[in-house]
């Protein structure tokens, strides 16, 4: 305000006639003298102070200290929210704890410790534990032709503790080995499927899980990128700790390839995912640990966890275009199948879904995704904070 008044005085001094002074310098000096009597400390406006407070608040300060948490507690439990606390330690070590609750009343508490980096970050060690109380997960029975009207709900409460070691011998290569002990039980209030049709359900199970993963990732950023690829192969051994008949091996192979066109104005993206489980002789794979399809990232256009079986294959193709540096649009086509026996995979049996999506993102992360997908069972809306692959 004062500036405007001074400006008008000066405007009158410089660009228009003035009478009271005898020189231009005197005329300007008069304006400066007027301002000299009304000086104030230079500093932030109330609006800037507000923004500064917001920036240092847990909402946006990068998660150092207490921070709010938003995300998914578990596939099929709806949107989750909660709080976390991150304590940075020396040499990139950190301690992080989170707790949250989802729209399905599922709950989560998890804690993790990332050890100091070794060998300039080539070796990373992480340990963690979590407790989940998952409500109302869906199970439609096994197979691609399961009847959606037969959906039953179950609660699932795993407790996990474990750790992993990641070696990054080369810039794009990561090899991870890990161990986890998990205990869980599950509960159905009104079972539709007999125990043999829903293995592991209503039982308390304990697993020793060992994992090995090799990944080759040359995307610029895992959480959002427009070029590069990601190839992964994982092997897991799930050993039921008390000798119950639910031990199995799991192999998973994943390929992501993104091909930018016209300097990334367009991106052709492809995703392939295959999960194969092999139960020990006479054993079954528990429902809650079986591969699934359906939901926001795996066969969009179908309900969360719509298809379950021992094996799954998912193929996705996307045509993405970029109207803005913060908005990507995509036309996508998903096709996938679950099968008890991997020899039963047949392209002609694949369920197909297609749709359109808008993804709001930053340079290295996906902030929000809104998609509409259509499958043979209808249209589904997808809201997510993560990119589909």
């Amino acid at each position: 305000m004062a500036a405007l008044i001074y400006a008008l005085i000066v405007l009158c001094s410089i660009a228009a006639p003035v009478a009271a002074q005898s020189t231009r310098v005197e005329a300007i000096a008069e304006a400066q003298a007027a301002k000299a009597g009304q000086l104030d400390a230079e500093g932030p406006s109330s609006a800037e102070l507000l923004i500064r407070r917001i920036l240092i608040s847990p909402l946006l300060n990068g998660g150092v200290g207490a921070y709010p948490w938003f995300g998914s507690i578990y596939s099929g439990t709806g949107m989750g929210a909660g709080a976390g606390y991150l304590k940075p330690l020396v040499n990139a070590a950190s301690f992080n704890v989170q707790a949250g609750i989802s729209t399905s009343n599922s709950k989560m508490v998890r804690a993790g410790f990332t050890a100091p980096e070794l060998w300039r970050g080539m070796l990373q060690v992480h340990t963690g534990a979590q407790w989940l109380d998952l409500r109302g997960l869906s199970f439609y029975g096994f197979g691609q032709r399961s009847d959606r009207r037969l959906r039953e709900r179950f609660d699932f409460a795993p407790k996990e503790i474990g750790g992993n070691v990641t070696l990054k011998p080369l810039r794009f290569v990561a090899v991870t080995g890990g161990y986890m002990f998990t205990n869980f039980d599950s509960h159905r209030s009104s079972p539709r499927f007999a125990p043999r049709e829903s293995p592991g359900m209503d039982d308390e199970l304990n697993f020793h899980v060992t994992r090995a993963t090799a990944a080759f990732d040359w995307r610029p950023a895992p959480a959002y990128s427009t070029r590069g690829g990601y190839y992964r192969a994982s092997f897991e051994r799930h050993e039921e700790a008390r000798g119950q008949p639910y031990s199995f091996n799991l192999q998973e192979y994943e390929v992501v390839q993104q091909v930018p066109i016209v300097r990334e104005q367009f991106v052709l993206a492809a995703h392939g995912l295959m999960t194969l489980t092999t139960p020990d002789r006479g054993d079954e794979v528990p429902v809650m640990l079986s591969p699934i399809l359906g939901g926001g990232s795996e066969l969009r256009g179908f309900a969360n966890r719509r298809f379950t079986d021992r094996n799954r294959v998912l193929l996705t193709g996307e045509y993405r275009w970029r109207p803005s540096r913060y908005l990507d649009m995509a036309l996508f086509l998903d096709a996938g199948q679950v099968a008890r026996d991997r020899r039963d995979f047949d392209v002609s049996d694949f369920d197909v879904a297609w749709g359109i999506g808008a993804r709001f993102h930053g340079p290295t992360f996906n902030a929000f995704r809104f998609e509409v997908a259509r499958g043979r069972e209808g249209i589904r809306l997808i809201l997510s904070g993560a990119q589909p692959f």
Binding site: A3, L4, L8, C12, A16, V25, A27, Q32, A41
Partner: protein
């Protein structure tokens, strides 16, 4: 800053001042003082208590993107110009190009007053650990403070060279810039100060140690012999008190009485930033310091940090969109691209680029570049208030920076790649030409009117002199006697000539005369007259006023 939110409250007061001013001016005031035109901005008051204020970058960005601070009424004439439509030397700007005899050697030296840091060890007093590329603040053996920046790995010369070239050319244009040197850093020459602390990403602040230096250096481009090419900028004189604001005035500076969005040199900064693709032309890349000189204290404002200029984006080569789009794209453009399934492809995605580690990435061809469409990351208030006479003013400065001066500045970048250096110089020269072609003919380009004792009025046409427009077929002059005390002009005669000079017709005795000069033919803008005011003196006539656009 407080005024940002008080505009509504102050409307009545502003109105009152306007009314009072109007009453004061009506009928009995004079347009010109004896000391007009002034060429130095008066700073008549000591700045006694200027506290350092570092604006928040996020706030500044949001403010300029969504709230648009400063005067709401655009289209106003710049308010810090003197009566001949020029910017006096002052806290932001010194008339160099076009007013002092610049030479390539002068441009190459620019603001440098030394040969660089004093010989001996460099003591690290702080380090930049949050950015992608590292930076150090050091003291040399003479206790002089310097800031060190590096090139990102794989781009030797790009950021450091681009910064030095841009700094030299901004200096030539007239802005205050720091002293810059390219140097070679040998890590063993760095000594960590005993009180030096660092806050590594994700860690707590602690004392800096040698492994921190090694870690920071690991993110910089390293030469085969283990040394690093660096750019050193000398700490600007005076005590830092903040950054340049592009709207309003500093509350603590009594000399700062013109809202910055109405300062011509800050509006014209757009043209120079466009020229050098200085997309990061924001307040945080500047510095205001409190200077004590000859017993007076005043604030001077420097442009700094040109690492994101020309083909460099500091941490890598310039991204294609930079210069073509702001930080947030135009909404209509987003909608068009969305609905077209992406087939409304922006030009920057399809044009050909020159790319090299030495200079980064630049469009290969600038012959069709449109400087009016150029965009900084953030369009500040001064840029928003820019008018055609402001861009013309900047273009005339640019016209005075010769191709040899540009080559001399580019040579100071020491890029070490002759082909890239030649391309960069050509790109800057070509962009300069496009600016002259765009902004000089856009208004009536008559400049430098001079009337000799015999009443011969000569002038130049800046556009045709720069060979960016044809000569006007002729010129028309409307001759007035001018009553300075009453600010009233009386038309006496009209004359026409095919070229300068024009001869003053018989005029009644008058201390002042006014001449409205326009082109006969040529672009439509040239037919709108400029007004020149002359005052009679003992030897003839002196130009005291010039108005290109009301």
């Amino acid at each position: 800053m407080k005024g940002t939110w008080g505009a509504g409250l102050g409307a009545w007061a502003v109105t009152a001042v306007i009314v009072v001013s109007s009453l004061t001016l009506s009928g009995q005031t004079r347009r010109f003082f004896p000391d007009d035109p002034i060429w130095t901005e008066p700073m008549t008051r000591d700045v006694k208590d200027a506290r350092r204020y570092e604006p928040d970058l996020t706030y500044q960005t949001l403010e300029n993107l969504f709230w648009r601070p400063g005067d709401r009424q655009t289209g106003q004439r710049a308010q810090n110009i003197n009566t001949v439509d020029e910017v006096p030397d002052g806290p932001y700007f010194v008339n160099r190009a076009g007013r002092m005899p610049l030479t390539p050697a002068l441009v190459a030296r620019a603001s440098n007053t030394s040969d660089g840091p004093a010989p001996g060890k460099w003591t690290v007093v702080s380090a930049k650990s949050d950015g992608v590329t590292p930076g150090f603040t050091i003291r040399d053996s003479a206790n002089q403070l310097w800031f060190i920046k590096f090139d990102p790995p794989g781009w030797r010369g790009m950021a450091t060279g681009s910064e030095i070239v841009a700094a030299k050319l901004f200096w030539a244009a007239g802005y205050h810039t720091a002293e810059y040197h390219i140097a070679k850093l040998v890590p063993s020459n760095l000594v960590i100060g005993k009180d030096t602390r660092i806050t590594p990403p994700g860690e707590m602040a602690r004392s800096m140690n040698q492994s921190d230096v090694s870690w920071l250096l690991s993110r910089a481009d390293r030469d085969a012999d283990g040394s690093y090419r660096v750019i050193l900028s000398k700490a600007a004189p005076g005590r830092p008190v903040g950054r340049i604001k592009f709207s309003g005035t500093r509350s603590d500076d009594p000399n700062d009485v013109v809202p910055h969005e109405h300062r011509r040199e800050l509006r014209g900064y757009f043209v120079f930033a466009a020229w050098l693709n200085h997309v990061d032309a924001k307040g945080i890349n500047s510095l205001s310091t409190l200077i004590n000189e000859n017993g007076r204290s005043f604030i001077r404002n420097y442009l700094l940090d040109f690492g994101s200029a020309l083909g460099s984006a500091a941490v890598g080569p310039r991204e294609g969109w930079e210069g073509y789009e702001g930080l947030v794209e135009n909404r209509g453009e987003i909608l068009k691209r969305t609905l077209s399934l992406g087939f409304a492809v922006p030009v920057w995605r399809t044009q050909d680029y020159f790319e090299s580690p030495a200079i980064g990435r630049l469009p290969r061809d600038h012959s069709k570049w449109n400087p009016e469409a150029w965009q900084a990351h953030i369009t500040n208030s001064a840029f928003r208030h820019m008018r055609a006479d402001d861009t013309f003013w900047a273009a005339t400065k640019l016209a005075a920076i010769s191709e040899d001066m540009i080559r001399a500045a580019v040579a100071e970048g020491q890029f070490g790649d002759a082909a890239s250096e030649a391309f960069l110089a050509k790109a800057i020269i070509d962009r300069r030409l496009r600016i002259l072609q765009t902004f000089l003919p856009k208004v009536n380009p008559i400049v430098d009117p001079v009337m000799d004792r015999n009443g011969r009025l000569s002038f130049r046409n800046a556009a045709s002199d720069a060979a960016v427009a044809d000569r006007a077929p002729g010129y028309r002059a409307l001759w007035y006697t001018f009553d300075n005390n009453g600010d009233k002009a009386t038309l006496v005669a009209t004359t026409e000539e095919t070229q300068s000079p024009m001869v003053m017709p018989p005029m009644p005795a008058s201390e002042y005369i006014k001449v409205d000069l326009s082109a006969i033919g040529g672009p439509e803008a040239w037919t709108r007259p400029v007004s020149a005011y002359f005052r009679r003196n003992s030897t003839g006539w002196t130009l005291v006023g010039f108005e290109r656009q009301p």
